[in-house]
């Protein structure tokens, strides 16, 4: 029925996830880090939707979950940016390597 194998979708999701991950862990600019995280979430969505169609037990649930993920991602993006702006106001920088308050 389908000419595209399930593994192709999964592989695409994997590649996007890896790119997002790499970006999230290497970029200095906090905005880009946030964007990379969005990309990772998107990759997850691809998986969810793929399994919703091609999984062992196809069901709509996968798509519903993708919706939830998108919602949470949107909320996260909003809060993340708010924090970023608050931080920027305090420290005049958006570079993530200058934020090391975690260090004791």
């Amino acid at each position: 029925m389908s000419s595209v194998p399930i593994s192709a979708f999964l592989a695409l999701a994997l590649i996007l996830f890896c790119i997002g991950l790499y970006g999230a862990l290497t970029k200095r600019n906090t905005v880009i880090v946030l964007i990379s995280i969005e990309l990772m979430l998107n990759a997850v969505n691809i998986n969810l939707v793929t399994f919703s169609k091609y999984g062992v037990a196809p069901a709509i649930t996968g798509q519903v979950f993708a919706l939830f993920v998108i919602t949470v991602a949107a909320a996260e993006a909003a809060v993340g940016l708010a924090i970023l702006i608050a931080l920027y106001r305090n420290r005049k920088t958006v570079n993530i390597d200058e934020m090391d308050q975690l260090q004791g």
């Binding site: 290497t26 090391d100 260090q103 004791g104």
Partner: protein
């Protein structure tokens, strides 16, 4: 005879009592020791007489069980054992009595008697053992007794070294016995003598194994009996008190090696190679030690080398299938050599030196010791009518009859040497002018003379139990009912007896000419052939050789291992420490407060796990 196991326990009791209460008993500890050993001796004599009429008695109980295997302990009274019991307890008794005088005034007097008790216990236990394992146990205990007594003067550096050397050299031999015993056990399934002999007799053990195990057991005998090449401890062992030398290093313990070969004789008899080894080692030791004895100047060392040489004789006898000859010489030698040592002790007691160059002219001053020493000297030299003559004759006969002609002539030369150096000793000590600085040289007390007289009598008459003229009583009795041990008496050509007599008389004559009459130059050898003289004085440089080879080799190996220890083992230690530290350092560096670093580490960790997972197929099977 059922209660013969009590015999060794009396000296053990003496040991324990003196160890616990010796300090309070002081001089009375001598009486404790003497009485208890006397009981042993009396009982041994009774057992011996019972044995003349009754058959061999053997009793055993399980000592240790290993799964199905059951190792037993017990005692056995056969002809050889009964004879040895009397011999050991007698000499021990005499030495106990003698020491009362000799050790008088020593502050560790009770300790000395305690050690004597321990030694006597072990030696009596040794000669009653019905199996190899028990033999080995007492064999080692005997070694400890000897070690303790050699090191009795513990504050002397030389005594310390001698004790250590004695223990280690004999231990090397013991390991041979240990290996031989275990191998024999796995071949025959038993440590029991009779079962081993039965297995060997029925051909259950291959020739190769018999030879191997017999030679290993013989290595044990080499160590204990001071045979070449493990003889070097015995002369050094003379650092101990002289009565100890008489008891341990002349009459009993060193003869244990001979006893061991005799006790396992059927095993040796089954392998011609093993017999030949014993004979060759024996003959080499006999001539080799005798040649060293020619030039020594310490009275006890001369006697020590003569002991080594005589033990070589016994080995030669056993190796030539002369079971009776070996045991016979063991017995006579015990008497005359103990006599010689006790007499030497008496001499040392009188002049407070062991150097024969500083003695001389003592014949008139020591009215008892002198004649007794002469008896011993005559006996050991093989002068006819004394005990040594008969037993030595028997050995030569056995060697000739067995076809060891080369060894026979070696033995004859050794007999010549023996006669020469023993009389050299005698003349230097007792004849001529006094070279001693001591003024008040006096005879030893009666408590020392008494035992010597007993031994003197025995040194003369002991030979008559087995003579070609009056019948070989001892031989017949020893071999009775046991054909594996050979005949009671070996017939040999009559000229052997004359040759033996001739060489010993020749030796005596030569010694007389050199040292008493002084018609021959004394330093004949040292001036004509200084090299060979040097070699003899330094005992063929064997001690030096051992020092250079084995001692340094052990040191070198140890140092090499120390390097391994420092670089390899400590290296592992350092590596473990270093890795831990490196981890800690990296870890603390990673704690820089940056989320991305944390994320990286966490993620890479996950990735590594996943890769491992993927590579191993997902699961450790």
């Amino acid at each position: 005879m059922e209660n013969a196991w009590l015999i060794p326990l009396f000296p053990l009791l003496s040991f324990l009592v003196l160890l616990l209460f010796g300090r309070k008993l002081k001089i009375a500890s001598a009486y404790v020791g003497i009485i208890l050993v006397l009981v042993s001796f009396v009982y041994s004599v009774i057992v011996l007489f019972e044995r003349f009429t009754a058959p061999t008695h053997k009793a055993e109980a399980v000592w240790l069980s290993i799964g199905e295997l059951q190792l037993t302990a017990g005692f056995e009274v056969n002809q050889l054992n009964a004879l040895m019991l009397v011999l050991v307890s007698l000499v021990s008794l005499l030495v106990h009595i003698y020491s009362k005088g000799y050790m008088d005034g020593d502050e560790r007097f009770p300790v000395f008697y305690a050690y004597l008790g321990l030694f006597t216990f072990s030696m009596l236990g040794l000669v009653m053992s019905p199996n190899l394992l028990q033999t080995y146990i007492f064999w080692e205990l005997v070694g400890v007794g000897s070690f303790l007594l050699i090191g009795f003067y513990f504050y002397k550096e030389s005594a310390k070294q001698a004790a250590k050397k004695a223990f280690i050299m004999t231990r090397i031999g013991d390991v041979g016995l240990f290996i031989g015993m275990i191998l024999l056990f796995w071949q025959t399934g038993s440590f029991e003598y009779d079962e081993i002999f039965a297995a060997v007799g029925q051909g259950e053990v291959s020739e190769k194994w018999i030879t191997l195990t017999a030679i290993l057991i013989f290595i044990g005998a080499i160590g204990k009996s001071g045979q070449f090449p493990l003889h070097t401890w015995l002369p050094d062992a003379m650092e101990g008190p002289t009565p100890v030398s008489a008891l341990i290093h002349a009459a009993t313990m060193v003869a244990a090696g001979v006893y061991l070969v005799a006790a396992t004789f059927p095993l040796f008899a089954a392998s011609e190679t093993a017999l030949m080894t014993v004979a060759v080692i024996g003959a080499i030791t006999a001539i080799f030690a005798a040649s060293i004895g020619l030039v020594q100047t310490d009275i006890k060392r001369v006697l020590a080398f003569s002991t080594v040489s005589q033990l070589g004789y016994m080995m030669l006898a056993l190796g030539s299938a002369g079971y009776v000859a070996g045991v016979f010489h063991l017995m006579t030698h015990a008497f005359f050599k103990a006599l010689l040592f006790l007499a030497a002790g008496s001499v040392i007691h009188a002049v407070v030196t062991q150097d024969i160059e500083k003695m001389g002219g003592l014949w008139k001053k020591l009215r008892f010791t002198g004649p007794l020493f002469l008896i011993g000297t005559l006996a050991i030299s093989g002068v006819p009518l004394f005990s040594g003559f008969f037993s030595k004759d028997e050995i030569l006969m056995a060697a000739w009859a067995h076809g060891n002609y080369g060894l026979f002539w070696l033995a004859v030369i050794a007999a010549f040497f023996t006669a020469f150096y023993m009389f050299r000793l005698f003349f230097m000590v007792f004849s001529g002018e006094s070279r001693s600085k001591m003024d008040n040289v006096h005879e030893s007390p009666g408590v020392m003379i008494g035992p010597m007289i007993v031994l003197g009598v025995l040194a003369v008459v002991a030979g008559y139990v087995n003579t070609p003229w009056f019948g070989a009583f001892l031989g017949d009795w020893l071999t009775e009912g046991n054909p594996a041990l050979g005949h009671g008496h070996v017939e040999g050509p009559a000229w052997i007896m004359f040759v033996a007599t001739a060489v010993s008389l020749l030796g005596i004559l030569l010694a007389w000419l050199m040292y008493s009459k002084k018609s021959l130059e004394r330093d004949w050898l040292s001036s004509r052939a200084p090299i060979s003289y040097n070699i003899l004085v330094n005992k063929y440089f064997i001690d030096e050789f051992y020092k250079l080879s084995f001692v340094y080799a052990a040191k070198a190996i140890s140092l090499f291992l120390k390097f391994i220890e420092i670089f390899l083992v400590e290296g592992i230690m350092k590596a473990i420490g270093g890795i831990t530290q490196a981890f800690a350092n990296t870890g603390s560096k990673l704690q820089n407060g940056q989320v991305q670093t944390y994320g990286t580490v966490a993620f890479v960790g996950l990735a590594v796990l996943l890769v491992i997972f993927a590579l191993t197929g997902g699961y450790l099977q």
